[in-house]
Symmetry: C2
């Protein structure tokens, strides 16, 4: 076996990647495991979903990012459990990877509050595949409406529903409205895309409720100026194909996007540690789980309170900071130094609304409008990995802004109304289970059924 | 109904697109039907399959290309047959589209010579989805080998098989060898990617046999310099997962790519016209089918002999020229002028070998080596649709050439060994049929079993 301690990192997102970089060229052997070969820049997924960016522009092969570091090994595979007696990670194919230290950074998905069957009709937005599927459905809705208008002379009214008024939901709603009002308007001769209805449903009394109330208010106004209908205090109680239930009413929609709820990776529970209802792991101040000083959990999987009593948010800067802290604690161990407690430095929050507005909050500092959007642009381009990606994304945005085009507008895969959505079954992690054989769905003219 | 004659075009490839452009702003109403929303620049698909380019860089939404033309309607849908009595096209969803003139430009796929079941284990390269799937398998092969080396210490030998020595096969084989020798070599610590075996199997006595014999010979040498093993006079007689049968011998391979055979769209037969064994339609000199002076067939679906007795090849320039001729004949009809017979002008042929060599042939004019590759680069960039695509592709190539990187290296979708390959069933066009539930395939070390 290796002489140096082996650190196994599960997950190649913001947390896992940063941990690997912190341990690079140190006196450890690192193995980073991810079930995908690429790191996805999640904050820009909504732009893939609305056909501004292509997948390759916001994703980078993990192996390429880490190839300089000779003590870091990248393994493609899925971790499905642990043998804590033997200190090993159990892999999907039955193999086991032993560790001296373990950093679990497997992230979180959206939660359907126990109704996972809703995912087929209201997909979330966490991976490239999610984004490509949503893109397909959004573009397909317009294509099928144009076809129906051509064949029958009737112009269907399109409606899109976004569930969840956090940053992801707000960004998706604003971007779909943007597509409909501008980029696609010229391309469709028979239907009027500007008449598409975009609805955002939020259960609490304000959107972006982690921001200051005045920013929520400004964002709501900006969204409404874009043509988005914002419904507050509205919970979604059921999802079916072609419609969602809001409170007691059924509302028809051509495409629904789920952007709420948190479900931490099931690996948290499998560590035997205590978790909250979303599966997030309660960690010590040094980010380890109780009784296992060599097992760290970081990022969106963690439930940890800051000094002011507020929970550390599930955002990229928090994951990165936790990774730095966990890595440092491992290195301190090796030097027999005392560990460091984690302290979160809030670097602020941002959310975009449409193509030229945003809100930014950092402590008491607040920005809105176009200036905020410029700040958002700057921060996100700088954070992208890879000079080439930064260059491409900047030019895509420039192109989209100037020409109002949506250039990444491919529908790949199934073009007819039938949908086949592979689901990652949580009962058997790693097995992609196709839903039942696709049924042909004849598109019928849908009437809007919202009554306020 | 419309006063102007209605021209329905089936297919948005090179032929269909050109026909639409020729009829744009003329005294006709045009409806272009395609089952995909994008036009794919097929000559560069092999670069998506080997992770040099991203799908969005070689595909353009048809609607966007034609949006300027007010008399051209783009319809997303699949044509599944015809009612020639009623002069209408039958669509997958049961609707019918009437026509006064019909141009069928639905292209061709590869042929498995009656063994369609081979497609799951030896996919072809005709669409973006094909290219992304092949890319996934190629990259996955390296990832799984690295994982095996990590877990067991054994370094598996990888082998790739390309079946068919035409331009597609030669380009794929050269590009896979290129990846293995250069771009991926630095990224994998444990396996030696340069030792990957790349085999090309050709049934005739020379590769690129539509070119002059001396060019075939030079191309073969160039391929061998790249490390490709070229097997001539070798027919593939069976394909299974993980191995192919060449003559009487089974040869193991991690990935197989099918690049031979022609199967024209089944729409040809459905027109009731006579076809050759590949389903290509015999057309009159004005490109119509017998007894239907208003029904044209163009492009790869056509079987037509030139004056010298040689068949018009299934290449993009031929499809484009046929489209121009068919469109012109329609316009001449409207002016009561005599129709024009089709005459193919051979604009030459090209094929690349690796990243800086090619062969070019135009009549007696021949080029090889780097100069030929520059010519190839020039022609293909100019032919790409869209300024932005040209700019991006040029910069991708520049980047790949200078840095030897392969930037478009995402594995999307199913990352574990299980493969789920939706197949377009020819019995029921338009229905994507998933293969049986994925089985988990444990990777075992494969021994090379070729005996010459």
């Amino acid at each position: 076996m290796a002489n140096k301690p082996r650190v196994v990192i599960i997950g190649g997102g913001f947390g896992g990647l940063q941990a690997a970089k912190e341990l690079a060229n140190e006196a450890v052997e690192v193995a980073l495991i991810d079930r995908k070969n690429h790191h996805t820049f999640q904050p820009l997924l909504y732009q893939v979903a609305t056909a501004v960016l292509s997948p390759g522009e916001i994703a980078s092969p993990i192996r390429r990012i880490l190839h300089k570091y000779k003590n870091v090994q990248v393994i493609l595979g899925e971790a499905v459990g642990f043998d804590l007696e033997k200190s090993s990670v159990k892999m999907f194919d039955g193999s086991e990877i032993p560790f001296d230290y373990l950093i679990v950074a497997a992230g979180a998905r959206h939660s359907y509050f126990g109704n996972d069957q809703w995912e087929a009709d209201a997909p979330g937005l966490k991976t490239i595949e999610d984004a490509v599927e949503i893109r397909r459905r959004v573009l397909l809705a317009f294509e099928l409406a144009e076809r129906e208008a051509y064949l029958t002379g009737v112009k269907p009214h399109l409606s899109f529903a976004v569930i969840g008024g956090g940053p992801t939901g707000v960004e998706m709603a604003g971007a779909i409205a943007g597509i409909a009002r501008r980029a696609l308007a010229k391309d469709f001769n028979l239907i009027d895309t500007t008449k598409a209805l975009v609805m955002l449903f939020e259960g609490s009394d304000r959107i972006l409720n982690t921001f200051a109330p005045e920013l929520s208010e400004i964002a709501k106004k900006d969204l409404e100026d874009l043509g988005v209908e914002v419904y507050l205090n509205n919970f979604v109680t059921a999802v079916e194909e072609g419609r969602i239930k809001v409170g007691e009413k059924w509302i028809n929609c051509d495409v629904a996007v789920w952007a709420t709820g948190v479900a931490a990776s099931p690996l948290g529970k499998m560590l035997g540690a205590e978790t909250d209802r979303a599966g997030r792991v309660f960690v010590n101040n040094d980010l380890t789980i109780p009784n296992h000083k060599n097992i760290f959990v970081i990022g969106d999987m963690v439930s940890l309170k800051q000094e002011d009593g507020k929970p550390v948010p599930g955002v990229a800067p928090a994951a990165i900071q936790m990774a730095e802290n966990a890595a440092e604690n491992i290195l301190r161990d090796l030097k027999n130094e005392a560990r460091k407690d984690f302290k979160y430095f809030d670097k602020g929050s941002m959310a975009t609304i449409g193509r030229n507005k945003a809100i930014v909050e950092l402590g008491r500092f607040k920005l809105t409008g176009f200036i905020a959007w410029l700040a958002w642009l700057f921060v996100h381009v700088i954070s992208l990995i890879g000079f080439k990606n930064r260059l491409y994304v900047l030019s895509e945005w420039f192109w989209a802004y100037v020409t109002r085009e949506r250039s990444a507008r491919l529908i790949t895969g199934d073009a007819e109304e039938m949908r086949e959505t592979p689901k990652l079954s949580e009962a058997q992690p790693g097995i992609l289970t196709p839903v039942a054989a696709p049924e042909k769905v004849k598109r019928t003219v849908k009437k809007k059924a919202v009554s306020e």
